[in-house]
Every structure is written in C-alpha cells, then in structure tokens.
Amino acid sequence: MPGPGGDPELRPGFGDPVADSQSVFREVLAAMSEPGTVRTVAVGLDAPAPLHPATAAVCLALMDFETPVWLDAVACTGAVRTWLRFHCGCPLVADPAAARFAVAADPVKLPPLDGFAAGSEAYPDEGATLVLQVGSLDGGMPVTVTGPGIPGERSFGPEDVTRDFWHQRRALEDLFPQGLDLVFTSGVGLAALPRSTLGRW
C-alpha cells in the first residue's frame, strides 16, 4: 500500500494525530512519573522496521524540527530515516552529544552514556532522553529502583540491558540534576527511568 507522499516504502503516522499524540504522551508521562511501571501504548501504528509500535509512537508524540535525533546503527535504516523526516521533521544527527533524543534498537551496543548531552548545571533540562527498544520489559537482570515516583522501592529488569549499562547509569546518578532520562520500549509497552531514579542490584 503506498504511503503518504507517494513513497511506497513510507509507513503512515498516527491515524488521529491530535488524540494519538496526547494519549501516547500521557503514557510516557505516567511512566516517567512512576518509574519502573509498565504502560501500554493504545494506538494502532504500522511502524517501519525495526521500530516497535511503542518506539515509533514515542517518536511521533515527542519529536519535531526542534529536536535533533540520534539513531543507533540498527535503527538507522533508510525506511526509519525517511519516516522520521516525513512525520516528525526532526534533524538527524550523527553525534550523540548533539541529540535531544536518541533512539536505540540495539541497546546492548549503545555508545558510552557519557557521550550523550547531560545538560548543564544551570540548565540540566538540556540532558537528552534516550529511547531504548528492548526484547521485553521484564526479562532481564532485576534492578531495585528508588526515588521520586516510587513509594518504597520497585523491581525493574528490562531485557537487553547489560550490567555495564547499569554501572554507567549509576555513575550518572552522582551528576544529578544533570543526567539522562530513559524510556524503555518493547512491543506496545513502555517504561521509564528518569535521572532522579536510583538503581541498585
């Protein structure tokens, strides 16, 4: 089926951009407000491979011409690039440090976390948001998370996240309020760990 713009490879975006953007945003907001809880994206979306529906939905809901986006090698296919350029209009950047958002379809091979923008002391909000697409949101090494949004503690263990990643993230905790905010996606599910969350294992 030919997509928008006459390009047969180009997949469509949200069916109802206003309502779908809002509902996806609210799931991301709920995930960010209660770190480690799993939310479901309830919009039908024919995402370009290798993006899962939740990954693609987060992109459509949050990215635009104001947000430079970095893609990892697996996510950086022609179809994904075309789709992002058409639906979001976001600039794609090769330098992780220049990105407001990063999308990784293979988080195991993620470049070092300190290569992404963590914001400045005066403007920590300039720290990037990383969208990490994983095999499942609960099949990996369990990490005990505490902090704002968590009464007591929670267990969170997404697949495809290495112990080394958790070590790097733990080092970033000392930089707070600078840091990176993480959104994990898998299928139609998503969960988040903002920089304020502490992880122990």
């Binding site: 951009p17 407000s33 949050l62 909000d125």
Partner: protein, 299 residues
C-alpha cells in the same frame, strides 16, 4: 450534586486551543520537569487568549495534557464558582469539549489557583497549579542569572536567613502563604501562593503535581510519592494555621476557612474555602452554626 457537563467543542479551534507543535514543546518541558523534581524548566510560553497572570501557565499545561478521556475541575481560592475558575472551565469546555466537574473525586485533572483541595488526591489524578512567580528566591535576588546559579550550587542559606530573621523579630516564621519547600532534598521550590495550611498535602501525594508559570515561562513538577518538605528549624518546626471557629455551614474544624464580612457592623462568619468539600459534608448531614443560610445545591 455531581455537576458533570459536556459541551460540544467550538469548531473554530484546534483541540484544547494550542497547535500540536506547541503542545509537543510543552509536553517535552513537562517530562523534563518530572525527571528533575522542583527544577524550573524554561519553556516557550505562548500568548493565550486569557491575560498573562490569569492562569496562562496552568492553562498551557492543562491544554497539553488533557484528552477526551479526561474530566476537568477548575478552582480558584478553593471554589469552583469564582469568576476566573468559571472562565477557565468555560475555555476548556469550549475548545476541548471535555466533561467538567466540581467534584474532586470525579476529576482526572484539577487546575487550581491558590488552594489544594481538602479531599485527599489519589493516584492517576493530576493537579495543575497556576503560578505567578515560580522562583522562590526572586524576592531575595531579582536577577534570573543569579538565582539560576544559586540553584545550581544549592545556595539556599539566604532563604533560611530570611525565615530566621522572622523568628528573631516575631518569635516565629511570618510567612503564611507561598511558603518555600525543598523537593526530594534538592531543589528549593515555590509552591505557588497556596496557604501554608496546604503545604503538608504536597508531601508524598499519590497524585502528580504540575506547575505552570506562563508569563515567567517556567514549568516545574513534583512526581507522586515525592518528599516535599517545608523549610523550618529544629527549634521552630513548621506548623500550619488553625482556627478557633468551625465552618458555619458544615461544621468542619479541619478545613481552611474563609472569613466573610456579613454586615456593616463588622460581623464575621467563617466558611470552608473548598466549596466542593463543604457541599459534600452538608449533603452527608454535617451542620454548622449557620446551616440553612445557604443552599448547597444552588448555582
């Protein structure tokens, strides 16, 4: 009593007035605000069809989060029927067509100016505060470049000094509203001009609290279950206002009371500022000294 209304949205506007690009920009700012509790995220606040200083920050936040599944409550001074609350509720009924309510329990989003409802909030509710001046240090240091540096270095001693000067002069802290808090042990935050009576409700609330300052172009947040501590001293712990009187309508001794001047001789009566809370108590059979003077179901 459940006054839920649904009004068909005005076809001339996009849903909730803001264009999609503006909503995305506000949404990104909200997410960063949640990720850095108490930190003021700059955002490119837009001119709204209501004046700056009249709730444009709260309106932009509400417009960016609200969806067709939501039920909205708007209060000003705790009341659903004050003119600006009426005006803002009408704005969203007109531009978003969402159901509105006066009942705290039935609302998914509550936009407020100057109060937190007496009814405890629950998980998945969102409280949106209208904020006039977001910077807690502003009246001690007028320059943004300087206050930003102070936040970066957690240079908050100047606020403790100010509160301590009150103690030295009056014997206790003489700040009764907009009382400064520390969020999650890090950022000093202005709770907006709520009475300090409401400060304890912010602490570890299961609801998400979002703060919008339109004219000052800042958004900040307190996630659910987050420590919000009112500044105090070991020998002068934080305390809230108390009244000798009970609400004249519902008899409540636990709610924030408004003082009403009733005649030219200076007669006074005290009634709940939270009208929904008061109405619910009256319906449940509670009575105050002046019960019968007011029709709780009245428009």
């Amino acid at each position: 009593m459940t006054r839920v209304s649904t009004v068909a949205p005005d076809g001339g506007y996009t849903f909730a007035y803001l264009d999609e690009q503006t909503k995305r920009m506000v949404r990104r700012a909200i997410l960063k605000a949640v990720a850095i509790p108490g930190y003021q995220v700059p955002f490119a606040s837009r001119e709204m069809p209501l004046p700056f200083g009249w709730g444009t920050g709260g309106i932009q936040v509400t417009a960016s989060i609200i969806g067709r599944e939501d039920t909205l409550k708007v209060i000003d001074q705790g009341a659903d029927d004050t003119v600006n609350a009426v005006s803002i509720r009408a704005f969203f009924a007109r531009t978003a067509g969402v159901p509105t309510t006066t009942r705290t329990e039935d609302a998914t989003i509550i936009q407020t100016r100057h109060r937190i409802p007496e009814t405890p909030l629950r998980a998945s509710q969102i409280l949106v505060y209208q904020v006039p001046i977001p910077e807690p240090l502003r009246w001690l240091e007028p320059r943004e470049a300087e206050t930003r540096r102070m936040h970066a270095l957690q240079e908050y001693g100047v606020m403790h000094v100010r509160l301590y000067e009150d103690i030295a002069r009056y014997g206790h802290i003489a700040t009764s509203y907009d009382y400064p808090v520390r969020v999650n042990g890090r950022y000093l935050m202005r709770p907006s001009p709520i009475p300090k009576f409401d400060n304890p409700k912010m602490d570890r609330s299961p609801a998400l609290q979002l703060f919008g300052a339109g004219r000052e172009k800042r958004i900040y947040a307190v996630p659910p279950h987050t420590e919000v501590r009112s500044l105090d001293f070991d020998d002068h712990p934080f305390e809230v206002q108390k009244w000798d009187q009970a609400c004249a309508l519902c008899g409540s001794t636990a709610s924030f009371l408004d003082e009403i001047v009733t005649d030219n001789q200076g007669g006074r009566m005290f009634v709940c500022s939270d009208t929904d809370h008061c109405d619910a108590r009256v319906l449940a059979g509670h009575v105050g000294s002046a019960a019968g003077d007011r029709d709780p179901g009245g428009a």
